[in-house]
């Protein structure tokens, strides 16, 4: 009974969060002084020289009809909620007209997911492992060194790390190609090989920073837990350090880290923008950036809505599963 109420409440909050989020995303671009129609015409002018006034007027009319921007804001909003949010049909991309936004995202999303999920998970595991050691064995030299490294790397702005990696590995030593070249039309082995090869450098850059964060947060969690009374008692009882680390410290600190992982998984969309731009890696991040710069409303909505749904769903799942992992938490 209690679970049911909690479940319903949580799901309702989930739906509301998504709704508010996408409404925000729907109206913001439309409130600002930029329009895909003018953007398109400006592109043509900059390529073809000054267009004639009649040509511009003709294009303005034609494009706003094509792009579905002729209705009132309210009509557009309702149709977005119905098609976009409920059916995940965001209409055609305005800059790659008439290719549907869904198709384009479908093409690029797997690459973003592959890279980000992989590097986030590895960073999480690695970071927590090192962090646990560092927090639990506070005074060991190895844990101090590892933590020191994490502290020195984590605060470095991401683009710097990525840029340095690219210059060293792609230019000076020429180990990796400058731009990711994923052989999609080749056979599976070649394709997968080229995908992995293209992902190594971006993944390392993400790992460098991601791991640092997990080390630091896990270390402080583990450090706090290790000072709690029940760990002291375990020590007095003569349990081995390994057992204490595994069954007491880890189990108690990992919960917080799982929530944080869920939150960061959702963040892969936004976080991948810099990676993709610097390494020329295909993915949703570049789509988002280009869409924003060219005022491609449908693409902005499509990518960010998916991102919002993904993050809220991830947190929803974690919230629902949490009590099963940690019996101390009651549904409240």
């Amino acid at each position: 009974m209690k679970f049911k109420t909690f479940f319903l409440q949580r799901v309702l909050a989930w739906a509301l969060t998504i709704w508010i989020g996408v409404t925000f995303i729907f109206f913001i671009p439309r409130m600002f002084p930029s329009s895909p129609v003018e953007s398109m015409i400006a592109q043509m002018t900059s390529r073809m020289g000054n267009l004639q006034p009649e040509q511009v007027q003709a294009l303005q009319k034609q494009l706003s009809i094509q792009f579905g921007l002729e209705g009132s804001l309210w009509e557009q909003y309702v149709s977005f909620l119905w098609n976009g949010l409920l059916h995940f049909d965001f209409g055609p991309s305005l800059m790659s007209y008439p290719e549907p936004v869904g198709n384009i995202i479908g093409t690029y999303l797997p690459y973003t997911l592959f890279l980000s999920l992989f590097s986030t998970l590895v960073a999480w595991l690695l970071g927590n492992f090192i962090g646990l050691l560092a927090g639990f064995r506070k005074n060991a030299r190895s844990s101090k060194i590892l933590e020191g490294i994490a502290i020195c790397i984590y605060p470095i702005p991401y683009f710097l790390v990525a840029l340095v990696l690219q210059i060293l590995f792609c230019f000076v030593w020429r180990v990796f190609p400058l731009q990711a070249n994923i052989k999609l039309s080749a056979d599976f082995a070649t394709w997968f090989g080229s995908l992995v090869w293209a992902s190594i450098l971006p993944a390392i850059s993400l790992l460098l920073l991601g791991t640092g964060w997990w080390i630091i947060s896990m270390k402080s969690l583990a450090g706090t837990t290790a000072e709690e009374d029940f760990v002291m008692f375990a020590r007095y009882r003569g349990l081995s350090e390994a057992t204490i680390g595994r069954s007491y410290v880890l189990r108690n600190s990992i919960l917080t880290q799982i929530t944080a992982l869920a939150m960061s998984l959702g963040g892969v969309f936004g976080g991948s923008i810099m990676t993709e731009i610097i390494f020329g890696y295909p993915g949703v991040g570049t789509l988002i950036q280009n869409a924003i710069l060219q005022a491609d409303y449908n693409m902005i909505l499509g990518t960010i809505t998916i991102s919002i749904v993904a993050i809220s769903t991830a947190t929803l799942i974690v919230d629902l599963v949490y009590p099963f992992i940690d019996p101390r938490i009651r549904y409240s």
Partner: protein, 683 residues
């Protein structure tokens, strides 16, 4: 000194930790994934590593394999490097495999119009002349309401069919019937009927007297929206705006060989029967190309990301031509790889003939003082072109004195230099009874001396321009006073209130204009204007421009590129088109500059034929330019200055200052007509 050692220390620390965690990351990932997976990845890794590093390793073992510099090297797409020209494309595409340019999103500049499309008229920018591509000749009736064009014979589609009048008629009717095609409304506005007369003759019936069919429906800059499609393919397609055309049948010399489904590259292959393509037929007729001038077998268009990556790619010989870089980037590249050059191999390096002289525009729609010529002239005289140019590209670039006119080489010869006498005698009334002659022909000489540039008088004028406007703060002050501004305690005031304005530029493109505005902002601030500066994204600017939502902005509404007839680019300056600020300008000039004489001239030119009334047109054009100077609606700094790097490690014969057979416009449709000149470097 101390900072330096800290920097060094940090760099070492950064490196060390990177290597450390790189090892950590890898070992972890292999233990993480299943062992077989790790196996494949490393195997594939080795394979492609040999490919990426292939160019360098192969170079040493080239001796036995051939006599080309690139012999033995294979590109990332599997073609021999000696047969592959690698060209940068400035943006990637989200809809790969889509080659139908009548779908809005198709990446036309991704080699599609450079290598495959056929247009009615094509442009020769170096000589400033337009020639028929599909069109052999065009004749009109006396009042320009009917045009009869002859289609060139001998051009074949890549599947062997002849290109003839049917294709032209079909293309135009297709555009006229499909309102999802971008060119639809404009075509319908002026073209009433397109009919076939015989297999190689087409008759266009216009809706009104239309003397400039070639300029409006053919290419003058970059490309145009009327690309002839094969009737025998497109007529079988249900909806041409939904037809991707994944294996295009084309009239141009290349066809698509492979493409990246993720949109980062396209590999084009030369048609076996390329002599029957537009390049073969028109190239022979217009450029005198012979059968043994064979263009590169493969042209690989690739997107290379940000400018850092582009530089690294070119230094590593992984790309032969780049589209646009800054002076600093070019210099850095030539320092690292001496095979890299540009239009000129020494300062100023750049080609200054790109359409679009960059400068600042005034929003006259805001009323006083922006709509006052004295104010605009005052600002102009407060600017120091020497310093501006130095801040833009260290002095490289041709000064463009006449507002709104692109001071390309062709235009400078046609208009600016012949107008010298008028310009020198042109006087400004400073409002205190004195007159001031602002034109200054000393710019070229000063810059040449400052920069140590040696050359003949003619070369100096070609390089730095015929002149610009004097930097005279006293005259500027008088003009501004005349416009109602007053300098109080070193700060300008208007109507008793501090006078401020915002200067904007476009953030994500066009370094030339951005730097120009930054420098002008600095100079005006020093001159006592309490102005601010801001960058706008291009999508914001496009709306702000059309709605008149700016004060002074860096932009290039300029026109007049390579053709003697300069009517068409200035049609938007007709004052009957002016809309109030805040409303869409609907194709009228966003700066809302109102000049009756210019409007009258435009109306008069509209019905004159650039061929039959050539002298009258020229006379009116000159008078219009004089009006521009008197009113100074925009201030042009430098003519469009493009640093277009070329790498002659594997390929040579690029157009350059010593051999200017065409402009270095790899992203324009005329690119195909340069290719027979490109040859592989002998090793």
């Amino acid at each position: 000194m101390k900072k330096r050692s800290i920097a060094l220390l940090l760099a070492v620390a950064l490196l060390f930790t990177m290597v450390l965690s790189a090892c950590g990351g890898e070992s972890n990932s292999s233990s993480q994934g299943s062992s077989s997976e790790a196996g494949t990845s490393s195997a594939a890794g080795n394979e492609s590593s040999s490919e990426a590093g292939g160019e360098s390793s192969a170079e040493s073992s080239e001796a036995g394999t051939g006599n080309k510099a690139a012999a033995g090297i294979t590109t990332e797409v599997g073609t021999p490097r000696e047969d592959t020209l690698i060209v940068e494309c400035q943006s990637s595409t989200d809809c790969a495999g889509q080659f139908n340019t009548y779908m809005t999103g198709t990446g036309t500049g991704f080699g599609i119009h450079q290598l495959m499309s056929a247009h009615l008229w094509e442009m020769q920018t170096a000589k400033g002349h337009q020639y028929g591509e599909v069109v052999e000749s065009a004749e009109s009736n006396d009042d320009f309401t009917e045009w009869t064009i002859k289609v060139r014979q001998g051009i074949k589609w890549s599947d062997g069919e002849d290109l003839n009048a049917d294709d032209v008629v079909f293309t135009f009717n297709m555009i006229k019937e499909n309102d999802n095609i971008g060119a639809n409304s404009y075509t319908n506005m002026y073209i009433d009927k397109v009919e076939k007369v015989d297999d190689y003759t087409v008759k266009f019936t216009m809706t009104e007297p239309f003397p400039r069919l070639d300029q409006c429906f053919g290419i003058t800059v970059w490309g145009c929206d009327w690309r002839i499609v094969p009737e025998h393919i497109y007529s079988t397609v249900g909806d041409v705006t939904q037809f991707k055309d994944e294996q295009p049948v084309v009239a141009g010399p290349y066809t698509v060989d492979q493409y990246d489904p993720l949109g980062s590259w396209i590999l084009y292959k030369l048609r076996d029967d390329w002599q029957q393509s537009t390049l073969g037929v028109v190239g022979a007729a217009e450029f005198g190309y012979t059968a043994d001038q064979v263009p590169p077998k493969y042209v690989w268009f690739r997107y290379l990301g940000d400018s850092t990556t582009k530089q690294m790619a070119m230094v590593n010989n992984e790309v032969d031509v780049l589209c646009e870089m800054t002076l600093e980037e070019l210099q850095a590249m030539t320092e690292m790889n001496d095979k890299i050059g540009a239009w000129m191999n020494e300062f100023p390096y750049a080609n200054a003939d790109d359409p679009g002289a960059k400068g600042i525009v005034f929003n006259c729609g805001l009323g006083a003082p922006y709509d006052n010529a004295d104010f605009r002239w005052g600002i102009c005289l407060a600017l120091d072109i020497d310093a501006l140019s130095e801040n833009i590209f260290s002095g490289a670039g041709r000064a463009a004195p006449i507002p709104l006119l692109n001071n390309t080489n062709v235009m400078q010869e046609l208009y600016t230099i012949p107008m010298t006498e008028w310009l020198e005698n042109f006087e400004l009334d400073l409002g205190d009874g004195t007159k001031f002659k602002p034109y200054d022909t000393g710019y070229a000489e000063r810059m040449a001396q400052k920069l140590g540039y040696e050359g003949t008088e003619e070369e100096k004028i070609n390089t730095f321009g015929a002149g610009w406007w004097k930097h005279d703060e006293e005259a500027a002050t008088k003009l501004l006073n005349k416009a109602g501004l007053e300098k109080v305690d070193g700060k300008w005031q208007y109507e008793g209130k501090p006078f401020t304005f915002e200067m904007s530029y476009i953030a994500d493109s066009e370094f030339q204009v951005g730097r120009g505005v930054q420098a002008a902002f600095n100079q005006l601030q020093a001159f006592g204007f309490d102005c601010t500066i801001t960058s706008k994204s291009s999508s914001t600017w496009s709306v702000d421009d059309t709605n008149g939502n700016y004060q002074i902005a860096g932009y290039w509404p300029s026109g007049g590129n390579y053709l003697k007839d300069i009517y068409r680019p200035f049609t938007g300056f007709d004052n009957t088109l002016i809309q109030p600020v805040g409303q869409n300008s609907q194709g009228g000039y966003g700066g809302r500059w109102n000049n009756q004489r210019v409007t009258d001239i435009l109306h008069e030119m509209a019905n004159l034929s650039p061929e039959k009334d050539e002298d009258k047109c020229y006379e009116l054009a000159t008078e219009m330019l004089q009006e521009f100077v008197k009113d100074m609606p925009v201030i042009n700094f430098l003519s469009g200055t493009k640093f277009v790097p070329t790498n002659s490690t594997y390929w040579q014969g690029y157009p350059c200052a010593d051999d200017p057979y065409d402009g270095p416009w790899w992203w324009w449709s005329c690119f195909k007509y340069m290719l027979p000149k490109f040859t592989a470097v002998e090793g």
